[in-house]
């Protein structure tokens, strides 16, 4: 049997093993070599927006994801939070993901410590950032926050009344914030577009998983002022921020994995065409 036909009929578990080995190897070589990351307009526009904010300006950062999307979305959450703290932009945090509350709270705590270490600033809860927690039924929560944050969030995640948090003084609804950045892994993205952007017309940007990214490109320029798609987008943001971390470290593994998959697709297709040709000759 022809080698290509044999490869086309290869047990898929061999492909898993091969991918496992090459991706692991590429990941362990992360400190030895790297791949260049070019930035795109859709990521730059979010970076430039935050870069252009004045100290003391406030944004809403909704981290609507759970541990299953942690790998892809943590790097962009970290990069945006670090950027805000560097610029002295205050962050009102929340989540619409039912399994995400504890994890998101940890993100805010960890990045606060990291920002203090990197930038030598004091990042205080209630002053520079706050975490409102989780509420169910995204559509209603998004609509409610457009009227008053206190309808659905009378108290923050730690049970402190919102009015007792200095960061929430003079913040009633989206009008009192400069923009809304949503890091999203689920269906709440559509709710943010429909009930948030279409209803209240606030500046909105998304950071989404790779699977979701192509679905939201059509909204760029009309509903979204920026879009970060998957690890590549996060790597771009890290590069712009000059804080290259997890996303950049994993890009070599990404490139290798894509090359391996392209290689298998090419081999599979050659095998398909060769076997089809043989069948035709046989006829």
């Amino acid at each position: 049997m022809n080698i290509f036909v044999r490869m086309a009929n290869l047990d898929r578990r061999w492909i898993f093993v091969f991918l496992f080995l090459v991706v692991s190897l590429a990941y362990f070589l992360r400190n030895v070599t790297s791949v260049p990351v070019n930035t795109t307009k859709e990521v730059e526009s979010i970076y430039n927006f935050i870069e252009g904010l004045d100290p003391g300006d406030k944004i809403l950062l909704a981290l609507d994801y759970d541990p299953s999307s942690l790998a892809e979305l943590h790097p962009m959450s970290r990069a945006i939070l670090l950027h805000c703290y560097r610029q002295d932009v205050k962050v009102v945090g929340m989540t619409l993901s039912q399994y995400g509350a504890g994890m998101v709270e940890e993100v805010f705590r960890n990045v606060k410590s990291e920002a203090e270490r990197i930038y030598g600033k004091t990042v205080e809860y209630g002053e520079e950032y706050c975490f409102l927690g989780y509420r169910p039924y995204p559509a209603f929560v998004i609509l409610g926050m457009g009227e008053n944050f206190r309808i659905f969030f009378p108290r923050d995640y730690y049970d402190t009344p919102l009015d007792d948090l200095p960061i929430m003084h003079r913040v009633r609804n989206y009008d009192d914030l400069e923009c809304v950045v949503v890091i999203e892994s689920g269906t709440a993205a559509d709710m943010w577009l429909v009930y948030g952007s279409a209803r209240y017309n606030m500046p909105l940007a998304f950071g989404v998983t790779g699977v979701m990214a192509p679905d939201y490109y059509p909204y760029l320029g009309n509903a979204l002022f920026g879009l970060i798609g998957g690890w590549k987008g996060a790597a771009e943001y890290e590069k712009l921020l000059e804080q290259e971390h997890d996303a950049n470290r994993g890009m070599l593994a990404q490139v290798v994995a894509h090359l391996v998959i392209v290689l298998f697709i090419v081999i599979g297709n050659i095998g398909y065409f060769v076997s089809r040709k043989k069948t035709k000759i046989g006829d």
Binding site: Y99, R135, A139, G210, W231, K232
Partner: protein
């Protein structure tokens, strides 16, 4: 983490995470009891976690605390919510239709918003007349218009795909293929991201175990 390395509790939790990661990966070989344990554990823990979270972060602050504070109009949504549960009774099941009707009725607010977001905005972005004639952006806008029109032609089945119409449909399918290719590429990136993160966590576990044993 202790000063001289990881403490036993941290090591045990990390070992459990590593075990569950490997148990999940074992499904790639074939379905097996280890994978089943990991799968059932995720479902059980998720359900329990959500129940507790929902009570303390939603029901208590948004409903119970407000009723205690004397905001009695919150009894209306509370009663409507309870009425939903009558769905499980054959005799009183009809009561659940009222909250469902209310819920469906309030969804009416979405109709104009969906129309604006998914149709009006998309239409105006497809044919952007504000772009300068002859610019690169203008060129790409023409490609988008051609892509949208030929894509629509491909899905028009009331006329046979022959001649110029068939040619347009063929261009449409090429445009769709490019779209599917982009989606596939992004999906690969997403899955590899998850895999690399698991490799990183296994590496972390290995380092922790080594440090604990050998100091």
């Amino acid at each position: 983490m202790m000063e001289n390395g990881p403490d036993l509790v941290t090591l045990l939790w990390t070992t459990l995470a590593a075990f569950l990661t490997l148990a999940t990966f074992s499904f790639l070989y074939k379905d097996n009891p280890l994978y089943k344990i990991a799968e059932h554990l995720v479902v059980g823990v998720s359900a329990g976690y959500f129940m507790v979270l929902f009570l303390w972060t939603s029901l208590k602050p948004v409903l119970i605390d407000r009723l205690i504070d004397g905001q009695y109009w919150y009894y209306i949504p509370a009663v409507l919510g309870v009425m939903m549960w009558f769905r499980f009774s054959k005799k009183l099941g009809w009561l659940s239709r009222y909250p469902i009707a209310f819920y469906v009725g309030t969804s009416g607010v979405a109709i104009p918003l969906y129309m604006y977001n998914n149709v009006n905005r998309q239409l105006s972005s497809t044919l952007d007349l504000t772009l300068g004639f002859g610019s690169l952006a203008h060129f790409w806008n023409i490609i988008i218009v051609i892509g949208v029109l030929t894509g629509l032609v491909y899905f028009f089945f009331s006329k046979e795909h022959k001649g110029a119409f068939g040619g347009a449909a063929k261009i449409g399918i090429f445009i769709l293929m490019i779209g599917f290719g982009a989606s596939f590429g992004y999906t690969v990136m997403a899955r590899i991201s998850l895999f690399v993160q698991r490799i990183a966590s296994l590496e972390e576990w290995g380092v922790m175990l080594y440090t604990y044993i050998f100091g």
